[in-house]
């Protein structure tokens, strides 16, 4: 299993598109989130603006790692590298486990790195406006942890979806359509706006709002449990599908 994880790491580091996208994920907080948050809050920037920076970064990062996760598995089918991969590691369960674990690790790493970039640049900016930020405050740590958890779970779900759908284009398109439109459309169509809170995007939002005194941490724990449930369910189906499928 260890060898498989190291092989997965090597795959990531030798795929230029992964490196480019990961680089973009780290620059995104500086390029886009920071200006947007501070422009919206001017002139009343305060300590809590830093939480918005963290949450703003998470939105794009979840999409990025979701797609990277899909590409990591469905891409093996697309390029045919699945064949040498499975010849070396014929136990399919281990193959799926290595993909899920390595993508989750990539997600966690990117989340921590992007949060660090957002926190550092945000603090520097706020300092220039005479607002001091305590980076070790409970709210900052809670929100940064929530970002890391949500992004890790999305990366994990990406790998699971990639193993489930296999057709790379269909998987990426399907996942993006789900996240960007279906989750918003279902509550509208069913005339039940409360439904949104119970779908992956809504659950992530609740988790990211853990530091919000009105939302409450109990709410966040429930959201974490449910989002994890969705991820585990997807992974379970991915395991079964991969075990039984013929590889061509």
């Amino acid at each position: 299993m260890n060898a498989l994880l190291r092989a997965e790491a090597r795959k990531m580091l030798t795929t230029r598109s992964t490196i480019l996208v990961a680089g973009f994920a780290l620059l995104y907080p500086v390029l886009s989130v920071l200006p947007a948050v501070f422009a919206r809050n001017e002139p009343a920037v305060d300590e809590s603006s830093i939480l918005e920076v963290l949450r703003g970064g998470a939105d794009v990062l979840t999409l990025i790692v979701l797609v990277l996760g899909i590409l990591a598995v469905a891409g093996e089918h697309r390029h045919g590298t699945i064949v040498p991969t499975l010849l070396v590691s014929p136990r399919r369960g281990r193959f799926v486990a290595a993909k899920l674990a390595s993508q989750a690790a990539l997600g966690a790493t990117l989340a921590v790195a992007a949060s660090a970039v957002g926190l550092i640049t945000g603090t520097v900016y706020l300092a220039s406006r005479d607002v001091s930020v305590d980076l070790l405050s409970g709210d900052v740590l809670l929100t940064a942890s929530a970002v890391a958890l949500v992004v890790t779970l999305y990366a994990f779900m990406g790998a699971a979806v990639g193993a489930l759908v296999k057709n790379q284009t269909a998987a990426v398109a399907g996942a993006l359509i789900w996240v960007l439109t279906v989750e918003n459309a279902i509550p509208l169509v069913l005339r039940n706006p409360g439904l949104k809170r119970w779908m992956p995007g809504g659950l992530s939002d609740r988790l990211l709002q853990a530091a919000d005194p009105f939302a409450g941490t109990g709410n966040a724990w429930l959201a974490l449990a449910m989002l994890t449930g969705v991820a585990v369910l997807l992974a379970g189906v991915a395991f079964v599908r991969t075990e039984t499928a013929d590889v061509h």
Binding site: A7, P84, T85, L86
Partner: protein, 302 residues
């Protein structure tokens, strides 16, 4: 224990019976040619053997166990499959390093293998820019990484130019001389005739011949074919077929009677009262025997 054992193997793809109750074994230390026309079921059989495709019934084992149950698959079997694919943006060396890492094989083996297949100077190039021949070499390098005892190659000469084919043949002979067991598929008997010790011939997913290539060659020599020209080929064909002979009408109007000696054909001609313009024996090549074996029993093979 047989290095490779196929037992009562059947694979259905919906209505298509790709492999049909196929059984054969591959002895250790020999090169076995796995032959059959397009669509015969070679690739399907090999994919099942390598654990990529699940059989409908029957089994395929390596050293007595299913591929997925091998303790060190990459050190036991090396495989080059049809259309082996690589990530186009990855360098050749990285492709091998990834596989070596997953298989727990040292980095120095990667350099040795690149050297062995003649890709050392292209190791740092991205595979997207590789020619077909270079890709085949890289596929073979991946198969050889673990210095496996058993090699499985699916139409490795596909897309190679004559130079590449010669290189590959030399490589196979060298691997065989090192005592490895090799199973190599092809749809041309003549292509592997010089390289293999044994042949397994299949058509429509079923075994039609199995044995040392020398036996098949003897069979070629013993099976006669006689060419006839007559004023009315269609009529003559009917008359000879009525005498239980196997007669094919060629495009140029000639009749070819196969599987019968010239005297038997001569007697049948006389009995039918046919007029002959020409009658001569044909030399039968190995390829003719192969075509006979793979077409006459089952009708069309495509």
């Amino acid at each position: 224990m047989e290095p490779i054992l196929i037992e009562k193997l059947t694979k259905r793809y919906g209505p298509v019976l790709a492999v049909d109750d196929l059984s054969f074994s591959v002895p250790a230390g020999r090169v076995t040619g796995f032959l059959g026309p397009n669509g015969a079921g070679k690739t399907t059989t090999l994919r099942i053997l390598l654990g990529l495709v699940h059989p409908t019934s029957g089994s395929a084992t390596i050293n007595g166990v299913a591929y997925a149950d091998l303790t060190y698959p990459a050190r036991t079997v090396g495989a080059v499959l049809e259309a082996t694919s690589f990530h186009p943006g990855r360098r050749a060396r990285d492709h091998l390093l990834i596989l070596a890492t997953a298989a727990g094989i040292g980095q120095s083996r990667v350099e040795q293998t690149l050297e062995r297949v003649g890709l050392a100077s292209a190791a740092d190039r991205r595979v997207g820019g590789f020619s077909l021949g270079m890709r085949q070499r890289l596929g073979l390098a991946a198969a050889l990484l673990g210095e496996p005892e058993i090699l499985v190659l699916d139409e490795p000469t596909n897309g190679l130019d004559p130079d590449g084919v010669r290189w590959l043949r030399g490589m196979l002979r060298q691997l065989a001389s090192e005592g490895r067991t090799v199973l190599v598929s092809s749809h041309l008997l003549s292509e592997v005739a010089q390289t293999v010790d044994d042949v397994v011939i299949i058509a429509n997913g079923r075994l039609v011949a199995h044995g040392p290539i020398a036996d098949v060659a003897r069979q070629a020599a013993s099976r006669f074919a006689v060419l006839l020209r007559t004023p009315d080929p269609a009529e003559a064909q009917r008359a000879l077929m009525a005498a239980d002979l196997e007669v094919n009408l060629e495009n140029d109007g000639a009749l070819v009677v196969s599987g019968a000696t010239p005297d038997a054909v001569g007697r049948a001609v006389a009995k039918a009262g046919l007029t002959l313009y020409e009658m001569r024996s044909l030399d039968r090549t190995l390829e003719d025997v192969f075509l006979d074996l793979t077409t006459t029993r089952e009708g069309s093979t495509l």
